[in-house]
Symmetry: C2
Subunit: 473 residues, 2 copies
């Protein structure tokens, strides 16, 4: 596109939009928030450090420890009213030496296969496992095949993400049971191992890890579970059609250790009028160990830090307490989210609102919101304030894994909804790295979150009004 014509048209639209939004304090404050995020934002610089200087941050790792220290130190620089660490015992799982897999395509002929251990899996025996492969389209097919076809085999779960679903998280929801429960289910039919097609809508060579669980399966029944790249899943599927007795070898060296102590990192601006009403904004500090966790969830972490920084920068004094919580261990235990909610309850804290960013640092489209009809309607009444920033999506339903344990009463949960098309290209894989995050997209997300926190604080939601009335009584 060369076109000066079009550029000029856009320019005029821009002027009109600015004119419209200058009609109230809220418009001006939100404009300030976006300007500061885009012109003098800190989120990208923070992410650079978190991703490139610290790197991956799996619970219990040195990276996670460094991330706790770094974000606490950065929070302390923001001049908040309070910064603290909340101790949490977290699981410690290590990958060990890199996984290795191949298929025997003929006598003396092998082809390597890109796999990665699923988080929580046991290792293979030291010499690896070699066995025939049974491809299935999902857990429900295990019953059809039955023990006679499964025993002694490696089960290959190959149901792909559905490309025709517009929200990629839906497609994820339609597959992730294979990863989470596939090993447990297949073990019950006598399988010796499972490999699972990566939850990735693209064809490439990156295997995507993620959490799995053996449920109540006794230790001696557990079998090793790995993810296989989408390209290799396609390859395996096609070769199995012509070579039914194909054998797959794989070796994994992962290990589950004793729980170790880690921390949620917390900072707050204490509310000037209703300090007992707490609004949380957060993301999770831990990441998988393969990439550097820039989208999942480095982005959410730095955006959450930025919310508090921007609120102070625009000179807004919140009436309610605004707390940033960087949760530990979302990926393989959710211990941070559970601990935070447990402490909040035991301290009888009154949480009125929580917002999480854990869907990548892509262009923000809006929010998913869990609220009563009245509360949702109130949030919808602010929709026009977001229009100049191309934030259009306000839909019921949503929150975030870390804030969900806070749910109860009429508190409102919200999740930032960025564009989801590219999220699963990187999710839990070695290519979830800093270079995949666009600075502007990240900053727009931070500003969008800040604007919602500002409006919720200023106008309250029904829960808040009710609580206030009760307090006034």
């Amino acid at each position: 596109m060369r076109s000066i014509y079009i550029a000029v048209t856009f320019f005029c639209i821009g002027i009109m939009a600015s004119a419209q939004t200058s009609s109230s304090d809220d418009s001006l404050n939100i404009r300030k928030i976006y300007d500061m995020s885009l012109l003098n934002g800190k989120s990208y610089e923070w992410l650079d450090h978190l991703s490139n200087d610290i790197g991956s941050r799996l619970s219990g790792s040195y990276g996670a420890e460094q991330a706790v220290k770094y974000t606490k130190a950065e929070l302390e620089k923001l001049g908040l009213d309070k910064v603290w660490l909340q101790p949490v015992m977290v699981p410690k799982w290590t990958r060990g030496e890199r996984e290795f897999a191949y298929v025997q395509t003929g006598p003396g002929e092998t082809r390597n296969i890109n796999i990665t251990a699923l988080g929580g899996s046991i290792a293979t025996p030291a010499g690896g496992i070699k066995a025939g492969v049974l491809e299935v389209e999902g857990i429900e097919q295990l019953k059809e095949y039955g023990r006679e076809n499964i025993e002694g085999k490696i089960v290959f779960f190959n149901r792909p993400m559905q490309a025709d679903l517009i929200q990629t998280f839906e497609a994820y929801g339609g597959c992730v049971d294979q990863r989470y429960s596939g090993a447990r289910e297949a073990a019950n039919y006598g399988a010796v191992g499972v490999i699972v097609r990566s939850m990735n809508l693209r064809l490439d060579d990156f295997p995507h890890t993620g959490s799995m669980s053996y449920g109540d399966l006794p230790e001696d029944k557990r079998i090793p579970a790995a993810a296989v790249s989408t390209n290799d899943a396609e390859y395996l599927s096609s070769i199995l059609k012509i070579q039914n007795d194909l054998e797959l070898y794989y070796k994994m060296n992962c290990e589950q250790h004793e729980d170790v102590e880690s921390y949620n990192v917390i900072g707050e601006i204490t509310g000037s009028e209703y300090p007992g009403e707490i609004m949380v904004v957060g993301g999770h500090l831990d990441s998988w160990d393969l990439g550097d966790g820039s989208h999942d969830d480095g982005a959410g972490v730095v955006q959450s830090l930025e919310v508090l920084r921007l609120i102070k920068e625009i000179g807004y004094q919140p009436k309610r307490t605004i707390r940033v919580v960087l949760f530990i261990n979302e990926e393989n235990g959710l211990r941070g989210g559970n601990k935070y909610a447990e402490v909040a309850r035991s301290n009888s804290e009154n949480h009125v609102f929580a917002l999480e960013s854990d869907a990548g640092g892509f262009t923000p489209r809006g929010f998913g919101i869990t609220a009563t009809d009245a509360q949702f309607k109130k949030i919808l009444s602010w929709k026009n304030l977001f229009k100049p920033y191309l934030i259009h999506y306000f839909e019921k339903g949503g929150g975030g894994a870390d804030i969900n344990p806070l749910k109860g009463g009429d508190m409102v949960l919200a999740g930032l909804r960025p564009d989801s098309q590219r999220y699963f290209d990187y999710h839990h894989a070695a290519n979830d790295t800093f270079d995949k995050v666009n600075k502007r997209e990240l900053e727009l997300g931070a500003a969008t979150m800040t604007s919602l926190m500002y409006l919720v604080d200023k106008y309250g939601l029904d829960n808040i009004s009710k609580t206030n009335t009760e307090l006034a009584d």
Copy 2:
């Protein structure tokens, strides 16, 4: 994000959305369009060929010639009613040997600078140019400095794109005069050359080319014009502050040749009821010569081809004539767009609607629309049909450089509006390459365009109704 919880929530929303959209034929047809684009689309495969097998396609180049042949052949495979080439004389400008530039930072000390000739620029003399540098913030500053400060100098236009504008095309509109007219203006004050900060919101090492014009400047007054990468623009600006007499050397080998014959590539499905009412969908076939033009405008080309393919695939027989036009020479002359409109007029063709995709292959957000209030209202009445696909943006104003010459009467012009945050990271630069296009984002754009074409054909717009009434009389 691990959370099965959230995935399930999204899944439920998805089911509700599907239920809503299954209430009418239009919803079903639009669902079919998206499904086919995402599950069995051709756009990505076409773009792969256009970008990776053909590559850059500057007007008059071998690549442009190949692109004409390839897209015509592909159109012929679609079983359209008519496919043809429309001859257009286009300018031919060649870059020649790669540009070279450095600054003299001390005796015997130089540092290379990343530059690229602007399209249409003359070459430097064979030995290059070496001169002092005057940094300005825009054309308007030339008057302030006056001939006494400019004569004999290289003028360095360094006004950056404004990062606080949400629509990046606005930021482009605020800078592009430096690139387009900077050389002409500076030459009038006696400058010997110009370099212009690349129209890029990111700091990196890629210089971004683009068209420039000398206007009516006599040939002997013309001065060579280049773009400089944003990183080097920052560097130059900082070193000029401490080394005011800094000299820049640059050498460019570009050349303007005689016009050559090229073609607009056109195909149509003839309307079953109103064959004389023509609806155009298109993008431009030419690209700059640095990358492979995947976003600008390979994406628009393949999406436009896909519109006609999808309309046939869903078994819809358009009432009106739907024509795909792949315009040549948008980048440096607009000869294709002008020729198409000229021929349409001389044949008294009745164009009722035109849609262009020329803003990159990113996630589609909606449309910019030039229409009367009544027409716009009619289009807005379809907004809910697009909601399941997260298409929310329907704003007045817009079209496309190639279709703008068709404007007149009450015909409606529309431009696809993809997410614009990353567009100028790649625009007119060597990194506008195939790997920067996400398959799903491209396919969603094609489906979004097809859906609008389908609705306009089925329900018409005010112009169409009027014409029909006239015809009926």
